[in-house]
Symmetry: C2
């Protein structure tokens, strides 16, 4: 029987999440019952939403329970099956959690398409890609010639937002942390401009990169990014709030200091969670898979090695140390 | 030649608008040219948006120019006509401004329907009514059983919002200034509940009136009303920002202190200006006129007497001293 290694939530953070909030475990994988499969995970996805789940009922979703395996998206391979729809060797994507193996009854477990690297199903052809697709197409809905701004522009979500905005004929402007990320956004992802929020000249650079203001803003970060963006909204601007990572651990406040800007600009701010829109996932995934398979949609990943590395990689992602999609390679 | 009396904007307010910001004039009405009509005004409408126009380019519309007649909606009667579409005696609604007569080339001048009191075309069957109709139907779009909250609930806009919300099968809750206005909202307008924002128990009353939270919020006021409402939004709540009168002269800040509520609740906040949506006015006015003519849509008005009374009535309206639609009866 293979051994399963992973992390449970040991305690809830008070402010900044720390290593002690997780507890490592190792135990035998259980015998599977009829209708179940055992999946060996190749990659675990680390995503900002996990930080919200660690808190008690402050997030949109039910809290992660103490002593339960940390929630998380995984891709892997069926290694045992007593389920009619899955065979040993099937490559699958699901919510296997922070562990090297999981048992599934098939609900929420999907076979992946061949011809695309398997870890892409945790990124551009997975939840982050659909998140970008939904916020851009259903909330911002850019018109050709409009300007779309996205924060965390080289991240798993932001990189897709920028490329979809360009494909829609919009000017894509990114905000990223550091000159290297900004260069990547422009040179590899095709953004028209990208500003470094860590630069001392951030506010001036921000203004210079947006000569025609902002028609759509896809917000992953909040804090000072939101404050600056709110002051450069055009008439009828649409702001999609996807994440506010700058505020998840209290580092920065994310606020709108004067609501009058919404009135003067007839602007809209809308928060969304991609899991509310499951009926749209097949369409989104189909479009994203096509774009990845044909090389039109690019992405970058940062891969931590081994399940033991998951907590540190997660903390790094919350502080922007990752470059592109943060993964953990398991087996 | 009849004499025309009115007010021009003499100076821009610094903070609170005062009488010296207006200058009274009296002069002969001009001779009209071919294609023009002379309209004698029966009523002038006083509306919160006028305060924004007095400031320099802070509002969505072009500023009111110094020394120009103050902008304002009027209803009246054609007393001279050299325009093929208007005859002497026609009752008309237009933007005649703060004066007793105006000359018009017919653009933006519309004949009113018979069978409805003429001043209703400045209220429930005019710009305020269409404002309520647009924000409620196009942004909030209430479903039966949902809760719709509206501030300034007995005002020209709020009173229509509440009645349309009830007609849509929603629970209508108002915020108004004073017990008398709250009683009127419930007893005459049919609101399910109304809370007095001047009461010492406002916050507790507010909570008690919203046992099922808020699905739609029609904001006319801002300040503490918005702050309290933002904390009781339900999942997928829609907030229409129509006005922020509490902040127009700096009395209260209107802000959203923590954007996370939009993410957690997947809520939307959208500012709007009814003049952006002219193609919808005929449908809205048709529905509103029908509801007024059949007695289904009720309203209340406060009428100041004579053009000289306009500035004081305007200042009173900014502070909530009016009860229902604020009008000035001219001739």
């Amino acid at each position: 029987m293979p051994r399963n290694q992973g992390f449970v939530l040991a305690s809830r953070p008070t402010g900044v999440a720390v290593a002690d909030n997780f507890r490592f475990f190792e135990k035998d994988t259980p015998a599977i019952a009829d209708g179940q499969v055992l999946v060996r995970h190749h990659y675990l996805s680390l995503d900002p939403y996990m930080r919200g789940r660690m808190d008690e009922s402050k997030s949109y979703a039910a809290s992660q329970q103490i002593d339960d395996v940390m929630i998380g998206g995984t891709v892997g391979e069926v290694v045992e099956s007593r389920h009619p729809k899955f065979a040993v060797g099937d490559k699958v994507v699901g919510m296997g959690g922070w562990q090297t193996y999981s048992v599934s009854d098939g609900v929420g477990l999907n076979k992946v398409m061949p011809g695309i690297p398997i870890q892409a199903f945790l990124g551009p052809v997975g939840m982050p890609g659909v998140t970008a697709w939904y916020g851009l197409n259903k909330i911002i809905a850019p018109k050709p010639g409009e300007t779309v701004l996205v924060s965390a522009a080289t991240g798993a979500v932001g990189s897709v937002v920028g490329q979809l905005a360009k494909a829609a004929g919009a000017r894509a402007v990114g905000i990223a942390g550091g000159a290297e990320k900004c260069r990547f956004a422009i040179d590899e992802l095709g953004f028209d401009a990208c500003v470094d929020h860590r630069s001392e000249t951030f506010a001036a650079d921000f203004k210079a990169a947006l000569p025609n203001g902002i028609d759509g803003y896809f917000e992953n970060v909040g804090g000072k990014c939101f404050t600056l963006a709110s002051r450069r909204l055009n008439d009828f601007a649409r702001v999609a709030i996807c994440g506010l990572i700058a505020s998840y651990e209290g580092a920065e406040t994310s606020s709108l200091d004067d609501l009058r800007i919404l009135l003067v600009k007839r602007a809209k701010i809308e928060g969304f969670i991609v899991s509310d829109h499951l009926p749209l996932w097949p369409q989104a995934l189909g479009e994203l898979a096509g774009a990845v398979a044909t090389g039109k949609l690019k992405w970058r990943e940062t891969v931590a090695d081994g399940i033991q590395a998951a907590p540190a990689a997660f903390f790094g992602m919350l502080r922007g140390k990752n470059f592109g999609k943060q993964l953990v390679k398991l087996i």
